[in-house]
Amino acid sequence: MKSAMKNVFLFSIMAALIVFVGQYQSWNLALSILNLCLISAVMALGVNIQWGYAGLFNVGVMGFAAMGGLAAMLISVSPVREAWSAGGVGVIIGLFILISTVLAAVFSYKKMAKSPLRALLIVFICVVGYFILRSVVDPATSAIEKVNPASTGYLGGLGLPILLAWPVGGLFAGAVAWVVGKITLGLRTDYLAIATLGISEIIVAVLKHEDWLTRGVKNVTGLSRPVPYEIGLQKSEWFLSLSQRLGANHVTFSSIFVKLCYAGLFTIVLLIVLWLSEKALRSPWGRMMRAIRDNEVSANAMGKDITARHLQVFVLGSIVVGIAGAMLTTLDGQLTPSTYQPLRFTFLIWVMVIVGGSGNNWGAVLGGFVIWFFWIEAEPLGLWLMDLITSGMDADSPLRAHLIESAAHMRLMTMGLILLLALRFSPRGLIPEKVGRHH
């Protein structure tokens, strides 16, 4: 029971830190940190499913999160009718050509014996399919991009409630994970790592450059919300009387109220994912996964299909990351492809999992909270530190200006150091994995 006490203690320190920020900086800031902590925790759970349960090293977290973001946009934005009539048919035909090309390639891969002829045939099918695809899709997409490019110039989405995008984002990410995993799992761990690094760069490149789909770097702003708008709240009777009763400024309180609504939604998702992950970990399936992770050879000898189980767990983890990505875009209210940076979206999540405790879901959640908190607070802390270090220097010395200007880059270094120190001195993390009782 001692470890349970320690965990409660760790989580209460985290809560106290957020309350501290609320008291001394502002509650608005504290709640924005909390919301991103919750999303990070879900993402870290996803990575923990892959790494902690199965030892898979996914360096493409960014790409899977971006798939979730794409889903949030595609589900919630209302369709642009003119764009659909300009090039919708072309895009849909293109989609069919793409699917049939892939099916034809897979079919010949499955049906023919391994030979140079097969490889040639598959390459041939892909090349021909690609040219037909381009000839159909190119005119369609350029027609779409010409439809009122300043405000639309893209197909839009389905105009459905954005909450629906969360599971859809998971599906998108899972589908990509399935393709990547199918090819690279079963080979060296390094290959999976490099392939996921590649796919995530490509996904983000597609979001940035396919204007007909995502408006590219022009961004899609003003996504619909699952929670009320501040302006609406400030006009409604019940809200004004509530803020009066609490003695708060109604403008500040409206933005706090909105953030609280988001926090509620994110907490529900986090709890569901956490509960399912814990259930899975304690089930025979979870024991099998850990057995495979700890000793692939003997698990294989027991008749477990390792590659298939790895694929399964890789897809499941990516689904969770995709859900978190959709949640993030929902919170931002906009899809901004240029914000997807590998250091922020891939490697930071890894630091969370390693610091929190790989293999332990509660550890991943705690890691998500702690690391996000310090990622945000590292900047004011770094500035403060630099101010302190340089306080003895001349006010207009160039070195001082350079040091203060560069303080923002300190957080990369800090995160790297935290990762290295955690890996070295506390490799099992803040909340270590529970090892089963031996009878």
């Binding site: 090819i183 490099i194 597609v206 880059h409 890996l423």
Partner: protein, 337 residues
């Protein structure tokens, strides 16, 4: 005939010359990755940022030399500053090895732990580089810009298409030939090089025959640092220096090393040229090229570009997947699966 020559000149100018230069730069990067993989047995994710680190010190030394008024005439001053960059970078990776990797080597840790540790090193290195030189573009090339200018080529040959070769491109090829020859001579002829190859082939046997593992590891890191700094400086001279670009080079570099067979130096070079040529050939717009060779009525309005340059990373990725699908050990047999 003249149309044919023009088409050839056009293709040389926009595909052949840039691809040879880019391939050479990738080859040096991939050699570093493959050496570390062969000896230390992990994929070093920090390699791109190590390149940036070494290049940064070369740039700083270049600026210092420039401020003293030292230059190499037509050649870039960076060439003179290169040893400084290599030295600092080698010291840095040796410190990293001592502080980070050595511990896991003693523990005989799983390769994936090294991989994560290298991600940590990548973070720290990236932070240091941004801290010192900032995240923006830096231009440090000086001296003459071209070996052959397109206009001179045109007047010389009378063709309507010119070939221009930048000094940085010529320099890249010459440097790579020298470096690769020296590296292969070192690996094949010297005692240390032979012990490295033995260690890479079979660690236990090498240890039994009295090879000092610490020395092998240290030499490997120094070579990797030197290769990374040279590759980074050449790339920076040819294009420009920006820390994030160097992180992004990681993908084509890894793809080159894997396509050629991880752990196989010859493969790394071949892989680099495969990647560089495919990347540039696939993203080149063939409209003018086709204009010389095909009758006019065959041409459509398109650019005849297979893939937009925005997706050049997709090319290395797709080649990587194809190789993993059909020949996971790479073109030349690497240490493999």
């Amino acid at each position: 005939m003249e149309d044919f020559l023009n088409a050839f000149a056009l293709l040389s100018n926009f595909v052949l010359v840039p691809a040879i230069a880019y391939g050479s730069q990738l080859a040096l990067g991939a050699l570093g990755v493959t050496l570390v993989f062969g000896i230390l047995r992990f994929s070093n994710f920090a390699h791109g940022d190590t390149m940036a680190f070494g290049t940064m010190f070369t740039i700083l030394a270049t600026w210092w030399l420039q401020s003293l008024g030292v230059n190499l005439g037509p050649l870039p001053t960076a060439l003179l500053a290169l040893p400084v960059g290599i030295l600092v970078c080698a010291i840095y990776v040796l410190i990293c090895d001592r502080m980070v990797y050595k511990f896991y080597r003693k523990q005989k840790a799983d390769p994936v732990i090294y991989l994560i540790a290298s991600v940590g090193v990548m973070f720290v290195t990236n932070g240091i580089v941004r801290f010192i030189i900032g995240p923006d573009d830096q231009n440090f090339s000086d001296g003459q810009r071209f070996i052959i200018k397109a206009r001179d080529f045109k007047t010389m040959t009378g063709l309507s298409e010119g070939i221009s070769i930048k000094v940085s491109q010529g320099l890249t090829v010459v440097t790579v030939i020298i470096v690769v020859t020296a590296l292969f001579w070192f690996l094949n002829k010297t005692r240390t090089g032979k012990s490295m190859r033995a260690y890479s082939d079979n660690e236990d046997l090498a240890l039994l025959s009295g090879i000092n593992p610490d020395k092998v590891v240290a030499v490997t890191w120094i070579l990797a640092a030197a290769l990374a700094t040279i590759a980074g400086t050449l790339y920076g001279l040819d294009k420009s220096f920006k820390p994030f670009t160097y992180f992004q080079l990681l993908l084509p570099i890894f793809a080159s090393a894997i396509v050629g067979g991880l752990g196989n130096p010859l493969g790394a070079i071949a892989g680099a040229f495969v990647i560089a040529f495919s990347e540039i050939m696939v993203t080149y717009a063939y409209k003018r090229f086709a204009g010389y060779l095909l009758p006019e009525e065959w041409l459509s309005g398109g650019l005849l570009q297979l893939l937009s340059t925005d997706y050049k990373f997709a090319v290395s990725f797709i080649i990587l997947l194809l190789v993993l699908l059909f020949r996971p050990t790479g073109i030349f047999k690497g240490t493999g699966v």
